[in-house]
Symmetry: C2
């Protein structure tokens, strides 16, 4: 197995990006990533593009259009899709192409345009990722599913309204410091977060990530190439993947995700590390309850104690495991397939010590990212090292 | 780089499969593939599912639904998409997961349901894979594009109507012997093929592959696992990928595909072989002219001589390079994302000596598959060895 490092990163502004196509948005992330790596598209052996929805993209088979637009014409390029975890599937796929020896330098990018349609249409398209026969037609959209998990978590472990909002406030605090975030310069106080409009009980507006447009890109390289290109390669040393039952009704529990535990187990084993060795992470906070469950399923606190863990400040800077210090999905935004790649971008930025003022995690050696598709049917955990 | 072998294969019947969902169709291919490998879903470390279109699938993010349905619950599963080359992208992705050491046993499957909608709607959905701004709105559907290439090939090299139909007749001859083929037991004579209804001049009905439902699956394994599982592992020893400009108007020539030449060059180099070392192949004959161009771009005859090459019988059994001896896309059918995996199925079946009566290629050592997405924007060449 060849070692693989991140050697270049790029990020578009996340948010409502009216009138921008997926090609243009991809270019905003891919071109800076190539420049950051000190290379041109000619140096890239293979490209993997994450896009979750064709109707979102407004282009069939969109990877070809993007690859050609950014200069990869002639090179092998294709698309991966794992719902909201598509971006991490792209990083994993680019990683395996290099680790296997098929490529020396590979691009992983994720992009989504979502705000060109109504919020209702976007919510419906996302809900269609649920079981098309047994769940989607009966109203199990994503807010509804995560509301079920929040209710179960509250009933079983006493998780509170305030604990949910604590996660939201933390993520907005750091999103406000991230110029690429959808809610840049928009912190929120606890009272506002607790009393915002109800979306799906018990989840209110500030428990839910927004619908955003955006793109992120990373350049991965083999050990030999990485050492030629940069003095600060960021190694991806652990990869894990998991999934879960398609139908929620078949699950043994609603208060955790099997896929997270499976993926984390693999990634920690491969990296030869434990949760105590990780100093910072990004997790999939599509809803505040998802972040709380992630603390638990990844092994950073006991099952049921995630709410308390957040309230104690353990996932803020200065706590045991600073989490989503770029704003997370909640405040940075969640252009579906861009999210996983944006997590790798953030891991690299933090480990390089390049995060913006007020949001650099100190003393980082290892970083973890956890990206969830649908309601846990796609799950990827990556572990990074300086 | 770890060696990777095909150790199990499965195939559904291709054709009009009324009332069958993508989950059921996938099961028809994946379950026999697992049985052929002598394993169960529990033994599989990772799954890669090729599906070209979400509207074809009638299920958002369909890989999750399929993975769970065939027993991969808990395992990492995701989707790859490269238009009509999606199946080969799945095989490549599964291959890299094993070669990199991330998995020991991986599933690659491809499935498409296409006949549940009107032919007009299916043609429109496919045409949307063309440039959504500059080509699709002006009527450049796939038959129209390949008609342009056929016209150019005829004008530049003197390729004839009869030569095009020769390809169709050969592929129907062998499709008629393949029980999984859409046109099983339906050979066609030269006069019928030459005089069928015009679709897009100069391409008539018998120059065009049908719209089909279907699935194919293969199980790949590391060298260690492969030797435990089977006495006849089929090694994938060369992989190449390529692409081309998104817009056809930007190409230097319409009589060949840059992506084929790039992908073939990589695959032959990796396998340390030349065209003369290959004794059988499957190429992407979505239209008869595409098969003729493939002979040339892959290096089996000179540019411009593909039509003559077919007419001489060089691509039939007994010729220099028997091609599409399972019926090809033309007669086996083309359920988009199943096609590339079906090619790996056929390569394995032929190299094992298990092809049905009348269509076994003799004296096989090496086999090649070439799978094209869109009008060459996605291209994959794989080389196999006994």
């Amino acid at each position: 197995m060849r070692k693989v490092a991140v050697v270049g990163i790029g990020h578009s502004k996340f948010g409502k990006r009216k009138g921008v196509t997926i090609k243009e948005l991809s270019h905003e992330a891919i071109t800076p990533a190539l420049q950051d790596a000190g290379i041109t598209a000619k140096d890239v052996d293979a490209g993997v593009i994450a896009i979750a929805g064709e109707e979102f993209a407004a282009q069939g088979c969109p990877a070809a259009a993007i690859g050609d637009y950014v200069g990869l014409t002639g090179k092998p390029v294709y698309r991966v899709e794992a719902a909201c975890a598509s971006g991490s599937a792209a990083v994993r796929t680019a990683w395996t192409q290099i680790a296997s020896g098929l490529a020396d330098i590979a691009l992983a990018a994720g992009v989504e345009t979502m705000t060109h349609m109504s919020t209702e249409r976007a919510t419906e398209l996302m809900a269609r990722a649920g079981d098309a026969l047994w769940e989607y037609p009966y109203g199990v959209s994503f807010p509804a599913f995560y509301a079920l998990t929040a209710t179960a978590h509250m009933a079983q472990y006493g998780t509170t309204r305030e604990q949910l909002s604590t996660v939201s406030v933390k993520n907005h605090k750091y999103g406000a410091l991230n110029p690429y975030a959808h809610f840049y310069q928009k912190p929120v106080d606890l009272q506002t977060a607790m009393k915002s409009v109800m979306i799906s009980h018990p989840l209110n507006l500030f428990d839910c990530c927004p619908i955003s447009d955006g793109a992120a890109a990373v350049i991965l390289a083999s050990e030999e190439k990485a050492k030629q290109l940069t003095d600060t390669p960021i190694w991806i040393i652990g990869l894990g993947g998991g999934s879960d039952t398609m139908q929620i009704s078949e699950r043994q529990s609603l208060t955790g995700l099997l896929g997270t535990r499976r993926a984390a187990e693999q990634a920690f084993k491969m990296a030869k590390l434990e949760p105590k060795d990780i100093q910072g992470m990004n997790v999939h906070d599509c809803f505040t309850i998802a972040e709380i469950m992630a603390y638990e399923d990844l092994g950073f606190c006991k099952k049921g104690e995630g709410g308390k863990f957040a309230q104690e400040g353990q996932t803020d800077i200065g706590g045991k495991i600073p989490t989503n210090i770029d704003g997370g999905l909640k405040a940075k935004g969640h252009p579906i397939a861009a999210t996983g790649v944006s997590m790798t971008y953030e891991a690299t930025k933090q480990l390089r010590g390049q995060a913006e003022k007020g949001r650099q995690i100190p003393n980082l050696e290892h970083f973890l990212t956890m990206n969830c598709g649908m309601t846990g049917q796609f799950m990827f955990v990556h572990i990074y090292s300086r």
